[in-house]
């Protein structure tokens, strides 16, 4: 691989008021510079679409990382191949994961990337989809924070999403009763029939709350929350004493410029003696190898099912991100920009 002269990239042009739209990004060209000391020039192969990406486009004072500046290239969790290295840590041709860019080529700080290899027998896109971000997020949130015990009831919201479906399956492996919520009957069916969830409830149903209660006859011990808003409130009503509420995501509020009310059942923090804990998976990168070794083992044993929704071509990125919010996504959404050389 030699350094190309220019690279396409998605420039962040306009802050969206709610959903990402046609004005949010534009596809531009830029020159490809030589990496400086300590840097890598990488080719972006796969970029992951994650609900949290939407937050990076906002103007909230409080954000767990630097937001994307207007005029800058959009970022994503990425699988990249090193083209040129000015670091002794990496060689050309090597695969790495990083907080990369919506671009053909990027310059990255070598200390900010991690080496990546697919476990034996697993295709690269599937390995990246599970192991890079979604798997560690599900593992850390469910096991390290939620700490489910066998026989307890775990509810996972947005359970057909990439993180949710893994969290639910890991909860099943932990011996729990697992109930998922999702936005269509087809998604619910996939959760119970293919993934082995004990029950799944469509949150769009009028009697969602009653159906959820029926699916959780012993209440909820661990809530793995990806949604927030009314769905979270319905779950909080069912929490058992000393329940744990893992705040992995609050997707229902990510498209809102204004702050929205917190859960109306917040007082259950006292009534039910709840622990409510949020996390950002990027904080736990040092623990990724350990978590990934468990994920790889479960994959080898055929104990984790997963589906990819891989769009082809960098030009698909904005549409792919948007699909996370419209529910038109089955499986882990990502965009393939190039094949490894």
């Amino acid at each position: 691989m030699s350094r190309p002269q220019s690279s396409r990239y998605w420039r962040f042009d306009t802050r969206p008021e709610s959903l990402v739209n046609a004005q949010t990004f534009s596809l531009q060209e830029r020159a490809v510079a030589a990496p400086e000391e300590g840097e890598l020039l990488v080719r972006n192969l796969l970029i992951s679409m994650d609900a949290t990406n939407r937050l990076w486009l906002g103007e909230r004072e409080e954000l767990y990382m630097e937001p994307i500046a207007l005029g800058d290239c959009m970022k994503a969790f990425s699988l990249c191949q090193v083209v040129e290295s000015r670091s002794r840590l990496y060689q050309p041709g090597q695969l790495v994961t990083a907080l990369g860019e919506w671009a053909d080529y990027s310059i990255l700080d070598a200390t900010q990337v991690q080496p990546f290899a697919a476990p034996d027998g697993l295709a690269l896109d599937m390995a990246f989809g599970i192991m890079a971000i979604a798997g560690p997020t599900a593992y850390h949130g469910l096991l390290n924070i939620g700490q489910p015990r066998p026989g307890e009831t775990v509810v996972v919201t947005a359970a057909s999403g990439a993180v949710g479906c893994l969290a639910g399956q890991i909860a099943k492996l932990s011996g729990c009763r697992v109930v998922g919520t999702a936005g269509s009957d087809a998604k619910c069916q996939w959760l119970t029939e293919t993934l082995g969830f004990d029950a799944a409830v469509n949150y769009k149903l009028d009697d969602f709350e009653a159906q959820l209660a029926q699916a959780c006859p012993n209440g909820i011990d661990v809530q793995f929350e990806n949604v927030g808003g009314a769905v979270l409130d319905s779950c909080l009503k069912l929490m058992n004493n000393n329940g744990r509420v893992v705040i992995c995501g609050l997707i229902s509020m990510y498209n809102s410029a204004e702050n929205v009310p917190g859960p109306y059942m917040f007082h259950n923090s006292i009534m039910k003696r709840l622990k409510i804990e949020g996390f950002v998976i990027l904080d736990h990168a040092a623990d990724f190898p350990r978590m990934q070794s468990y994920l790889a083992q479960w994959l080898r044993d055929g104990q984790l099912k997963f589906r990819l929704n891989c769009q082809q071509g960098l030009e698909k990125a904005p549409e792919a991100l948007r699909s996370l919010y419209t529910g038109d996504n089955d499986g882990k959404v990502m965009v393939q920009i190039a094949e490894p050389a």
Copy 2:
């Protein structure tokens, strides 16, 4: 002491829609029965007024204990003296604490009371006010849940209340910067000048949020929450990464029959990686002796200041409870019904 024929008691007549009022309770007479096997007849000496008492009068489905039924006697954390014992655990004349009643005399289950003795040199009312409930609540919430480290900033809301003032002083003993919020300048002055808080802010000021931010130049590491609502939201804005939010009380919502919105800054659970944890001190009775031994030591060393607001006579109970919600309370509110025999 011999068994009297009858006892006055406050009967719960009408559920209050907001504040406790003249229709909520009525003072009645009832016959005093002989205790049955395993029971004690006690004389109630001191009854504690606690914000949480108001919750016991509501109709919420979710409550951490059985609510008071209409027609029943109102309950309170109480200091009692045993008059007759049908249990080998207690002798007549002995002092006990219990979830007792707004009444001259009560029958209690002997397994549900704890022996009580004032530490050397401490008056009985002061000892009861600090050691029975407020002290363990402050200790458990701040140290066991909040886990403050020296140099961290701790904010205590309703800091001039019985629990808040102790939590703040224990935080000072832990080497923290301590900021309190209270509802008057006089209360704030007491916090800083008498109790040694580093700063105190009147939450009724128009620029409360700005003043709070100024009082917390390094942000907030531990939030000891007694209030909820807008005050909690102002604090959540200032939380540091990995902050701990101890939900001890949510007094701002206790007078509301409807569920109120949770914090608008709930998303900071993710952004700032917060642990939000509620508790009910009654769950931790087994740990009271240990916590009380620390409190007694600090009291002997002159390191805890406290003030009592002790109303005289059972007839004062409803008014005393109401005062917790109107801010007309300086110090720990309790009612003295009788002197020990």
